[in-house]
């Protein structure tokens, strides 16, 4: 029997299609009668879409322009 706690643990596996059939059906059945979990699942979906649009990046101190120029110089000496 799927409970809210199981939905919270398996939400990503469900959304990514990695849940075995029996568990998938159990989760779907739970969603039919639990509005809280339907909302939770929807919010996880929105979180994924939001991050995909926002595209936060690793913080770093590298001067990428200088690195690009260094690599270009290396490539010229190699060829």
């Amino acid at each position: 029997m799927f409970e809210c706690k199981d939905v919270a643990e398996e939400a990503s596996n469900y959304l990514d299609g990695d849940l075995p059939l029996a568990k998938r059906l159990g989760l779907l059945l739970h969603l039919v009668y639990c509005s809280c979990c339907r909302r939770y699942m929807q919010q996880i979906r929105q979180t994924i879409s939001t991050v995909a649009i926002l595209r936060p990046q690793e913080q770093h101190q590298t001067d990428t322009q200088a690195l690009a120029e260094k690599l270009r110089t290396i490539s010229k000496t190699e060829s």
């Binding site: 990514d16 809280c36 939001t50 991050v51 926002l54 936060p56």
Partner: protein, 194 residues
Amino acid sequence: MDEKALIAKLIEGDAAAFEYVVGRYHSLMLSVARAIIGEAFADEVVQDAWVSAIKALPRFEGRASLKTWLLQITSNGAKTRLRRESRQLSLDDGWQAEPDYKFNQRGHRIDDVLPWNIDTPEALLENEQLRQVIERSYQNLPPHQRAVLTMADMEGLEMTEICNILDLSASNARVLLHRARTALHHSIEQYQES
């Protein structure tokens, strides 16, 4: 510009092409290196990976995408360095998607999941404070979670590629991805409730 043309430009030594690839992939490579070797050596590993990649570029056969190829070179360099340093990074265990106190003994939620006032990705991102909350939450993720989330949800890499690059089992990678998404969800939820 397609990838073949980009690679040809790089081999020709086109400055704009170099700026583009470094700008596009440096953070991503750093994310992979930090996940494997940790903060201290990641920068050096990525610099070395760039040099190896540029030297090997004329032999790049295009069997994988340029992105996957760069990440694989970064991963190999980081793993070699990890062996040399005899370090082992742990995968922050003992985690739950939601803390126990949110559920009763039968696993039912005790409190409602409240609806969000701002509830589309576009609307979420129009809110500058919320953008910062999400950015901060992303930066605070442990490196493994950040790397898996970045590759899966932003770069669209297949799970098998991610497992290969980070040397993780599929189940570990899936758990890390869910942890990362849950942490970000939690930060948005807290913001909306405040």
